[in-house]
């Protein structure tokens, strides 16, 4: 029987999924059911009280009579019914109730509800496992203690046979009650020609129990020294493995804390302004272009643009940027962030699954489940593991029967059982995914979105980091710093003409000049015959004058005399400014310098990268002198200047040919080819556009510290994976031969199956616990 779900999702024929909140709310609130009735499409209900197959037709008939319903199909196995057409959920539920059953809306899509349900399911499973464990150990522990104290676990007299028969039946009870899932799982897998952990446990405990029962029933067929029973092993192993599984569930819960925190950022309601009134509505009902009011201390509900008011917003939970960001009219606000100071009204631009937060959650979830290449070997081994262990158990038993000391049969049974029990495919299987889960989550907390396991692994190996200059090392917002007038034109005239020419260009340097003209209030005119000369500059006509603006190359190409102003330009460039020449009718009239300041924390972040042994290379389309000056200021020894966008990718390939593992960081738009060619492409986001980036790793804040954090967290995760894989491999590689008795001839010891059971139960737990250690990881900024 399926669980009852509380949320509903209506697949609307008009496109898009519309979610409504809990069923109870849906039934209670007329507004809500109206919302449902407005949609036409499919709706799923969970049915309670349907105990026989004949209920199916009754429920379907009842639903089909509801106005607007075109069809209803019930799935008896799932106790759910799919209703097609257009009708209110309220009417549908009522119809089912009138037919004598109960119904709730099904199919949740809310992340929060899903997490809650998962936690409930895990808790229920944990309790079941703990109960099974207590029952199994309450038989196993006394039996084991009895064996340890008296040393008497053999069957020699009739009384002993009767007592052990009773114990054997009790053990069978434990197997059926506490270990049923192992046996059912093993049998089902067997029928499917597959073998898994259940197979090993079932075979191990089953062999021990069967052998013990043979000793009880037919002691005469077993050599006297081998008339030993192993009921305590069966009960103990079942108890311990259930305990291990229960503790593993607890530990696993902690691995998903990061995603829970992200999901928790989603607001539940929004204060929408409708018909001039503020009304609180569930966030699922917010529509595009709704105006939403947010007061200080409240969470932003969906993505949008501020239309009224100004405030500062704490975006740290998404970007890792600790300082609140000032927001005013036309600025973007992002769902999940917190309004700090003022009251604002914003227009909803992205709702539901389209918000940056929803996309981030989705991306983190997907990345957490993906596997880095390092896990492939473990996967390959897992695929063959169980049958190989079964074969080793058979070989081990045969070896003891052929060459072992007396009692050979007992030794053979003990060794085969112990081999089956100690082998742990789970530890191998869990080694990689658990660490990835925690590592990717940890990165997300620091504002670093890792696309998948492969990116995570590659990032840990980076030897060279290529940084684009503009917008990556620098602020990306250049400002005019110097206007050197060469002719008899006034400062304002020059700025006005230059800005008029540059207003047609989208180059950041051009925008700086236009911005400067606007700031100084000089007029900007329309130009004609605008032409962009790639990599050099621009030209256009204004009032029959030919305006030309660009670098030295452009001026030389056009035969314009630069005189000694080349020296002046070089001095400006040496000061990390970008000098450009402005000519009117083939005569130089001014040298204008623009500078893009280095971000305040770029220098520290670059030092962090270098401190970690990473070679940092700066790429820029800027001139050599400016590039040199910026590189020097930023503490970068390697830089390549005057690089055309298409050459950036070639530079990456060149570095890769030198044997470097190259990370490339850029703004993700102009640098797309270079990002794609790099071993790991890092896109620097600005908090909102991040989720749509296609880079391997996206930094949600502009700081290059995110880059160092990403590499640090990747390295820590890979180290953790390696520890887990090493532990799991060594455990099996050493444990299985030990269990088979390889060391017996030298040391005279054979592993007890109960100890093997404990080791197996705790090996997976150790892996999960080690992965959880990653939660304590903290990237150091200095």
């Amino acid at each position: 029987m399926n669980s009852k779900t509380d949320d509903a999702k209506i697949h609307s024929c008009c496109g898009g999924d519309k979610k409504v909140s809990t069923a109870s709310k849906a039934v209670e609130s007329e507004t809500h059911t109206e919302q449902v009735s407005a949609s036409s499409g499919e709706l799923q209900l969970n049915i309670q009280g349907a105990s026989c197959a004949s209920c199916v037709s009754k429920i379907e008939a009842a639903l089909k009579q509801v106005s607007g319903v075109t069809n209803a199909e019930m799935n008896f196995a799932e106790r759910s019914v799919l209703v097609m057409g257009s009708s209110s959920s309220h009417a549908l539920i009522k119809a089912v109730e009138q037919a004598g059953y109960n119904a709730t809306l099904a199919n949740t899509d809310s992340d929060e509800a899903a997490i809650e349900e998962k936690e409930q399911a895990d808790w229920a499973y944990y309790k079941k496992l703990m109960r099974d464990m207590v029952i199994a150990l309450s038989l196993g522990v006394p039996l084991m203690l009895y064996g340890l104290v008296t040393g008497e676990m053999s069957v020699n007299t009739t009384t002993e046979r009767i007592v052990w028969l009773i114990v054997g039946i009790m053990t069978l009870g434990v197997m059926v009650f506490s270990g049923r899932h192992f046996y059912v799982g093993a049998w089902n897998s067997f029928k499917n020609h597959a073998a898994n952990m259940d197979t090993l446990i079932a075979l191990g405990t089953g062999t021990a129990w069967l052998y013990s029962m043979v000793v009880v029933f037919f002691p005469g067929y077993v050599p006297e020294m081998a008339r030993h029973v192993y009921f305590e092993a069966t009960a103990m192993i079942i108890g311990l493995i259930n305990l291990g599984l229960a503790l593993e569930i607890k530990a696993r819960g902690k691995t998903s804390e990061a995603i829970k925190r992200l999901i928790g950022l989603q607001a539940k309601t929004a204060r929408v302004i409708r018909d001039g009134h503020d009304i609180d509505i569930p966030i699922e009902d917010v529509l595009l272009n709704d105006l939403i009011r947010v007061r200080p201390g409240e969470r932003i509900s969906v993505d949008g643009l501020v239309v009224e008011g100004q405030t500062s917003i704490d975006e740290s939970m998404l970007t890792g940027e600790p300082m609140p960001i000032e927001k005013r009219k036309d600025d973007e606000v992002v769902a999940g962030t917190i309004n700090k100071s003022g009251s604002i009204v914003f227009r909803a631009e992205r709702v539901g699954k389209d918000t940056a937060l929803a996309q981030i959650i989705n991306m983190v979830k997907r990345a957490q489940n993906s596997k880095p290449p390092i896990g492939r070997l473990a996967d390959m081994i897992s695929a063959y593991f169980v049958p190989v262990v079964m074969i080793i158990a058979v070989i081990s038993a045969l070896a003891w029967l052929n060459y072992g000391p007396s009692p050979e049969v007992a030794f053979a049974i003990v060794s085969a059982t112990t081999v089956l029990i100690i082998a742990c495919p789970c530890a191998l299987g869990l080694a990689t995914p658990m660490s990835v889960m925690v590592g990717v989550g940890k990165a997300a907390e620091a504002g670093v979105l890792i696309r998948n396991g492969e990116a995570l692994q590659s990032a840990s190996k980076i030897t060279t980091m290529v940084l684009d200059k503009t917008g990556t090392i620098t602020e990306g917002a250049p400002k005019v710093t110097d206007v050197v007038i060469v002719s008899d034109h006034s400062h304002n005239d020059v700025l006005s003409l230059a800005a008029s020419l540059e207003s047609g260009s989208e180059h950041p340097l051009a925008m700086a000049i236009v911005e400067s003209a606007k700031e100084q209030g000089v007029p900007i005119h329309s130009v004609t015959d605008f032409q962009s000369i790639a990599g050099k500059g621009v030209e256009a006509m204004l009032n029959s004058q030919r305006l030309l603006f660009g670098n030295e190359k452009l001026m030389i190409d056009q035969g314009i005399e630069l005189h000694h102003y080349i020296d002046k330009a070089q001095r400006l460039a040496a000061d990390a400014k970008t000098p450009m020449y402005f000519a009117i009718d083939s005569t130089l009239v001014a040298v204008i310098a623009v500078a893009d300041p280095i971000k305040s924390d770029s220098i520290d972040a670059i030092k962090r990268l270098q401190h970690n042994g990473i070679r940092v290379v700066m790429l820029t389309g800027d001139n050599r002198l400016t590039a040199k000056a910026v590189a020097r200021k930023a503490g970068i020894a390697d830089y390549v200047a005057e690089v055309m966008p298409e050459d950036k990718a070639n530079k990456i390939l060149e570095l890769q040919r030198e044997g470097e593992i190259v990370g490339m960081t850029g703004d993700g738009i102009n640098d797309a080819p270079a990002l794609a060619h790099a071993n790991v492409g890092f896109a620097i986001g600005t908090g909102t556009d991040v989720a749509i980036e296609s880079a391997d790793i996206t930094l949600m804040r502009g700081s290059l510290h995110g880059l160092a954090d990403a590499i640090a967290v990747s390295k820590a995760t890979l180290r953790n994976i390696k520890q887990n894989l090493f532990g799991a491999f060594i455990y099996n590689v050493a444990g299985i031969p030990f269990a088979a008795g390889v060391f017996y001839p030298f040391l005279g010891i054979l592993l007890n199956p109960v100890i093997a059971g404990a080791a197996m139960a705790f090996s997976s737990l150790t892996v999960v616990t080690n992965a959880n250690r990653l939660r304590l990881f903290k990237a150091k900024e200095h």
């Binding site: 399926n2 669980s3 779900t5 799932e78 759910s80 199919n107 949740t108 899903a114 349900e117 998962k118 399911a121 895990d122 229920a124 499973y125 079941k128 899932h181 059912v184 799982g185 093993a186 089902n188 897998s189 067997f190 029928k191 499917n192 020609h193 597959a194 073998a195 898994n196 952990m197 259940d198 599984l245 593993e248 569930i249 696993r252 979830k365 997907r366 489940n369 993906s370 596997k371 996967d379 897992s382 695929a383 063959y384 169980v386 049958p387 079964m390 074969i391 058979v394 070989i395 038993a397 045969l398 029967l401 052929n402 495919p425 789970c426 191998l428 299987g429 869990l430 995914p433």
Partner: protein, 118 residues
């Protein structure tokens, strides 16, 4: 006596190899573009599914096993990973793909199945 025991052991090893590795399990042909896959008691039912090539189909997973391992469904070759909520139908759309064998499994590979696209 030992000869027979050893022979039995060798036959048992042979049977293990045959049953788990050499035997080609029957595959369930998908009909009407979708199929329900039950995730229960250690196995996907059905575990081997045949899908027509170059045609998008839907696998509707219903997980009835509370083991956390069974929660994640991975089809690595198709870059699909899905979380299977307990007792819920989770529809996984398989994009139109070229012929081939695409294994699917849980995180620890205890649950295993194959998607045969032909």
């Amino acid at each position: 006596m030992m000869i027979w025991i050893n022979l039995a052991g060798l036959i048992l090893i042979g049977l293990i190899v045959w049953w788990f590795w050499l035997y080609k399990a029957q595959s369930t042909q998908i009909k009407d573009g979708s199929i329900k896959v039950l995730v229960k008691d250690g196995v996907y039912q059905p575990a081997n599914i045949t899908v027509p090539a170059h045609q998008s189909v839907q696998l509707m997973f219903v997980r009835e096993d509370a083991t956390p391992c069974a929660e994640t469904l991975l089809i690595p070759e198709l870059d699909i990973n899905e979380t299977l909520a307990l007792n819920k139908r989770v529809t996984v759309t398989i994009p139109a793909s070229s012929a081939g064998v695409y294994p699917f499994h849980c995180q620890m590979q205890m649950y295993r199945g194959t998607l045969v696209i032909k």
